[in-house]
């Protein structure tokens, strides 16, 4: 009897299950399988080739004793927080400005959005050039007569990460702006009318009425921005290659260099496991709010 029951539950939604097979396989094999594989190998002393010779937490001990890794983490935090805040603020303010029934809206929107079509490699190269003190902004201003003018973020270890930030924001804020604009257009006209009648200042309406209504948009935007931040690699390689010195190193680059340049897979895997852990720490509360909350609501 039990045997005849089983196929029933299995067969229910069979088409949907077949259709979802690519997703299920991807999740199990790639996202779960490969992640476990990497975590397991982070406890080994794999060098150029993966080997299962376990050495406990040695790789992690070395990782946290390496100044380059510590700088990478610090950079990721600075870059991450600035990039998240600035992208959201700039994206929202620009969207609000474009939403003022202005002329040339299409042109301006295209101008702000187009950098998103360019790769990080291209973004890095072009900003490296504009920020080059001998060629770019600094030299132009000096040629105009202000000879003591100094603007060389990419050559100053203390601020280099902000030089990268300028490029990162340039590339990514357009998409956020479009998302925000779409969100603003979805706000009912009546809300504006109501707040106008009540004499509520416009900035207050934005801050206390409109933004809370746009929560889903902000969630999507935050997902897009943060998933990009953890992965920042190409931009650094193209713009500064981690320099000057090791001042603009990031974790993803540490992973790549450990794995392939130093031929120490174990160390690279340990570093990537730490990156994964960071992601989990950020994501679990979010997932709890998103999925746990919904289930309760329904």
């Amino acid at each position: 009897m039990a045997q005849s029951m089983r196929p029933n539950t299995l067969l229910r939604n069979l088409n949907a299950k077949i259709a979802a097979m690519p997703m299920i396989i991807t999740v199990l094999v790639i996202f779960v399988g490969c992640t476990i594989w990497t975590v397991v190998h982070s406890f080994t002393k794999s060098r150029m080739l993966p080997k299962l010779e376990f050495i406990g937490f040695d790789q992690y001990e070395r990782l946290w004793g390496t100044s380059r890794w510590l700088i990478s983490i610090e950079n990721l935090f600075i870059y991450g927080i600035c990039s998240l805040v600035l992208s959201l603020v700039i994206g929202f303010v620009l969207a609000a400005l474009l939403d003022q029934k202005i002329r040339f809206e299409n042109t301006l929107r295209s101008i702000i959005l187009f950098p998103f079509a360019l790769s990080f490699v291209v973004t890095g190269l072009i900003w490296q050039w504009i920020l080059n003190p001998d060629l770019g902004i600094q030299s132009v201003v000096r040629d105009l007569g202000w000879t003591s003018f100094a603007f060389d973020p990419l050559y100053n270890p203390d601020i280099v990460i902000y030089g990268v930030l300028i490029a990162g924001i340039w590339q990514g804020s357009g998409l956020i702006m479009v998302l925000m604009l779409a969100g603003l257009r979805g706000i009912d006209e009546d809300i504006w009318n109501a707040s106008r009648i009540d004499g509520i200042p416009k900035w207050k309406t934005y801050l206390f009425i409109v933004i809370p209504m746009m929560k889903p948009v902000f969630v999507t935007a935050i997902v897009l921005i943060t998933s990009g931040i953890v992965k920042v690699y190409d931009l650094i390689v193209a713009q500064t290659n981690g320099g000057p010195g090791i001042a603009s190193e990031v974790p993803a680059k540490y992973v790549m260099d450990s794995m392939f340049l130093k031929q120490n897979l174990g160390q690279g895997f340990a570093a990537s496991t730490m990156m994964l852990l960071c992601v989990l720490i950020i994501l679990i509360p979010y997932a709890y709010l998103e999925f746990g909350g919904k289930r309760n609501g329904k």
Binding site: A20, F31, T220, L224, I282
Partner: protein, 297 residues
Amino acid sequence: MVNNHIVPNGPKPKSIFTARNIMLYGTLFVVAIYYILPLYVMIVTSLKGMPEIRLGNIFAPPLEVTFQPWVKAWSTACTGLNCDGLSRGFWNSVQILIPSVVLSIIIASVNGYALVNWKFKGSEVFFAVLLFGAFIPYQVMIYPIVILLREMGLMGSLWGLVLVHTVFGMPILTLLFRNYFSSVPEELFKAARIDGAGFWGIYFRIMLPMAVPIFVVAMILQVTGIWNDFLFGVIYTKPDIYPMTVQLNNIVNSVQGVKEYNVNMAATLLTGLVPLVLYFVSGKLFVRGIAAGAVKG
């Protein structure tokens, strides 16, 4: 910021030189410069000769326009012994792009549809893990995927790369389609079920035709992402099928005595041309598509 001016209903006021407008357009003008300046520098530089670049500043328009850097970038720039510029990479990129975009969008749209309308046991869990995948640094998975592709015999082949792109595009695209389909009224789906339509019937006859705006968004995102990819292209393929970005890196990093900034910029622009044109042409559709579904969380 913007003052508490009351925006009047009906037609716009005649005068455009109000304080509000000057501030608004002034701000937008400055913003526009920040965004457009790098593109301007790229174009201007790519049209200059090397002597002019060495002397002048990077913002000055070319005194003497030359298209030679463009020709060189496209057809004669050298990497090692191969002196055929970007031209080889262009067709490779197209060959990689088309199957990757088509496959990833088909799979993601079916995923989204199944996740909303045909929930099965564990489907939400799979989706949560998939979404989590959007945050996993690629570096974590590069190595095991090399091994997987080897076992499948796809390492170094075009289809191996297509598969990798499909997998890594899946999280965000599935999220897009899931959000879109969940905004479709459930009654439509129920009515079709009562009429006896099955999984695929409903997908093709009802969902697909309604989902055009979100397909446009997905397509634009994927075309850009895949066209601009460097990491997967260089690791999972071999020289015969290197995409254009890899050739770009080769040209930009092959320094023969002096850095030829004009050729580099021309090469950069040529590589970015496909996604750029796509954005300028379909920018409106993109915004409409996002408004239609992507923002509903």
